[in-house]
Symmetry: C2
Subunit: 476 residues, 2 copies
């Protein structure tokens, strides 16, 4: 390759080293430089192009650190041979280039696999509104949002959440009770550090949300599995097995993953147990916003007269998971303790995304987005359910669920393989189906498959994915 | 007040409840409604304006939750009497309104007090470039950045940091060794959870950074104060007092708050101790980017042959603290352990700010900003030092420091009061001077004042603040 092709332009805005770095990347992408090719030494390129050696070194260092170049000591520097297969298959852009340096937006199919759980509809997010809001926030970039963040979260967002919870979830709270956290884990961590101690025993729904279970166990909590039936968590069994537990983690609105609601008698029984034994209830209200028939259930927290419920919600399902924003509402009596602990933890992260969500809520976009998504998800759920009913009625039995963004289909008794084997086969074929057994703490004979539907944009899309799933399972 | 003034417009884009809420706020700001005034009941306003009661209720709920209204049960709802003094003093905008609902950007003086520590120059941040970058990021909003974030951080940012550290701090590392965290505390938390146990003993610089000390103590660490002299941390004393400590937290480039650099013999002694006793060194390189004379010192990490140094840096001083983004570089041998633990912690927060900083670095804006800030801070440091020398030579003796964004002035022996008393008096007068003694673990007779200079935009500004300080201290 002629080194003159690499010559940077003094006219351009970008610094010389960056231009050099880009020229090299372009040369590789265009096939002018092939994997394994030796590139000019720093010294000779600097001399050829009359550049400072430091400038060339910087460009090379970037190319090495990003995997384009490999330094081979005395043997010189070469274009990484590992790029071979990628360049061959013309996938160089996606796999090699840093994602946001890519000139084209990626396809959703590159990111979300069919049936993927816990992911909202990525195609239906109001990008323009979001970008407009953000633009305003950023142009302002007020000194207030540049200085240190409140460890309890950005106040305007805490206020917006308190208002929203009052209206939508029947929770009467002030913004002082609301703490913004990095995801649901951040909320669990704040609860754990403020109220729990290593070795404390807690009730955990069985089956129940895997990641929170692992998070709590890793942090030294002991978890007692408490079975879930058609009325939700079986509180009597919890009391039999571990009456003196210090806490219980529950998903009362829409049990994760079974989808049932905790019945009113059970709710009262649970609250009564917590009040008597001074235990804490952690209410995970992760996707209550989506409900397609029947009246929306108020949160368990709305019945909490004794201040035992720690309520958590998240923006991962209603906006998008990459936000990593969740929130915790604590009883009034605990605000002081939680504020104090929040001052000694890393906190909720940058103000910017918090300010954006606050604006989104205050200006009514949030409520509008939720309304739209409820209609959209009802339709998309229909696509999946129809496809499953038409094609896989023999092997699967769909559980009725009033809400959420996934479907649970139990295996019919004639199915020979376990749900784990079925899910593993599906996953090996890039279908992100999950096995119900995988979410259980104790063994059970009842297997099932969990399937997300939020990204099935059309009935045809759902049909195509279900027929792929059917074909994969038929081979077993 | 005529209720018709509140009538929302059907033409407007904003939802009715939001228009109503805004009308009320405007009416209060304009003095049409005064603190203590009773407002129309939900029922009568809804009927007067032919609106749904739910709509009016929602607006009222927002006004109550934001402190504009107070609900008094049967006595009705009134404009909060607590607004009285604020409205009187015409400060209503700043103190009452949620910050980003405010129509005017705030002044820096509203946020940063004179002498405030740890705050970069808020007026010199390249807002336009930042907003442009963000705009691009947001319009794209690629599915990849919408889905779940990598708990170790956004890859492009990890790569950009690895490149930067190689060039600027002499640290050879790959992006796999870099973990993005929510602030320095997030980095400490990741280290603590991965490598340390409750009750572990560590060396801590005396005087040393208060907030990290409190953070570690709160997390159950025991800290042994190790004195700092003109060569930095006294490693021999550390070994005498606590040879078997499990870790040491140090600020080798620019000791916080004394400003001295850890000498090369001490660096080697410290690394040797860590290697022999299998202890961990946490290097806090919080403001190494700013150095105004002499050669920049490479990081301690650059000498780490035995993989004992955990290196941390932050964007709080070089960009702005509200970002809450820091990073940790771990030895190659520890990458697996740290990745595993990162999977079980809340993580670094939203991808958005990470992607913005990555773009800022990759496109060379970061390096350019640092170059500009070095020149700016050298000038601003000069303003403060000149003012102190001219006006307070009698009572203060300025320590020479090669870098950083604060000045340490020791009290001369003729000063009667302790530095704590002086600082308290200054703070009572809104001058954010801090007492050196406050940063100490053990008592010392040598008092001093710590003063930030980054936001003294002019010599006159520094002179005015120093003369205010002098007047306050003269009264003691």
């Amino acid at each position: 390759m002629d080194l003159q092709h690499l010559r940077p332009s003094r006219e351009q805005d970008a610094p010389i080293y960056l231009q050099l770095y880009r020229r090299y990347r372009e040369a590789i992408a265009a096939g002018k430089l092939r994997p394994g090719d030796r590139v000019a030494s720093v010294r000779s390129l600097a001399s050829e192009l009359s550049l400072a050696r430091g400038t060339v070194e910087m460009a090379y260092q970037m190319l090495v650190s990003e995997g384009y170049f490999v330094a081979r000591g005395a043997a010189g520097t070469v274009v990484s041979p590992r790029l071979e297969s990628l360049v061959e298959h013309n996938h160089a852009r996606k796999s090699v280039a840093a994602a946001h340096a890519s000139p084209h937006p990626q396809n959703i199919s590159d990111v979300a696999l069919p049936f993927q759980l816990g992911l909202p509809a990525l195609d239906a997010f109001p990008r323009k509104t979001w970008a407009r809001l953000a633009g305003r926030n950023l142009r302002m970039l007020e000194p207030e949002t540049m200085t240190s963040a409140d460890p309890a979260g950005y106040e305007a967002l805490r206020r917006a959440i308190a208002t929203y919870l009052g209206i939508s979830r029947g929770i009467a709270c002030t913004h002082e009770q609301v703490f913004i956290t990095v995801g649901y884990r951040g909320a669990l961590e704040l609860v754990r550090r403020t109220l729990l101690q290593a070795g404390d025993l807690g009730w955990y729904e069985d089956p129940g949300y895997i990641f929170a279970r692992q998070f709590l166990e890793r942090a030294g909590m002991r978890l007692e599995p408490v079975p879930v039936d058609e009325e939700g968590l079986n509180v009597s069994i919890g009391q039999q097995r571990a009456a003196h537990a210090r806490f219980a983690v529950v998903t009362p609105t829409h049990q994760s993953p079974m989808g049932v609601a905790l019945s009113l008698p059970r709710r009262l029984e649970l609250l009564d147990w917590a009040a008597r034994s001074q235990a804490w209830i952690i209410e995970d209200d992760y996707d209550s916003e989506f409900r397609y028939h029947g009246r929306p259930l108020p949160a368990l927290k709305s019945l909490d007269r004794d201040g035992r419920v720690l309520y958590t919600g998240t923006f991962s399902k209603v906006l998008f998971p990459g936000l990593r924003l969740a929130y915790l509402v604590v009883p009034t009596s605990q605000v002081g303790k939680f504020s104090d602990m929040a001052n000694h933890l890393p906190g909720p992260g940058s103000i910017l995304p918090q300010a954006m969500v606050a604006g989104f809520m205050e200006q009514g976009h949030f409520a509008r987005h939720l309304r739209k998504m409820r209609i959209l998800y009802a339709a998309r759920r229909g696509y999946l359910v129809d496809a499953l009913t038409q094609m896989m009625r023999e092997s699967l039995h769909i559980q009725p669920q009033a809400g959420g963004i996934h479907v649970l289909a139990n295996l019919n008794t004639n199915t020979r393989q376990s749900d784990k084997i079925l899910a593993a086969a599906a996953q090996a074929n890039c279908l992100a189906v999950q096995a119900l057994s995988h979410w259980r703490l104790r063994k059970s004979t009842q297997g099932g498959l969990l399937m997300g539907f939020a990204n099935f944009a059309t009935a045809d899309g759902a049909t195509a994915s279900v027929s792929r799933l059917k074909a994969v399972l038929a081979k077993l």
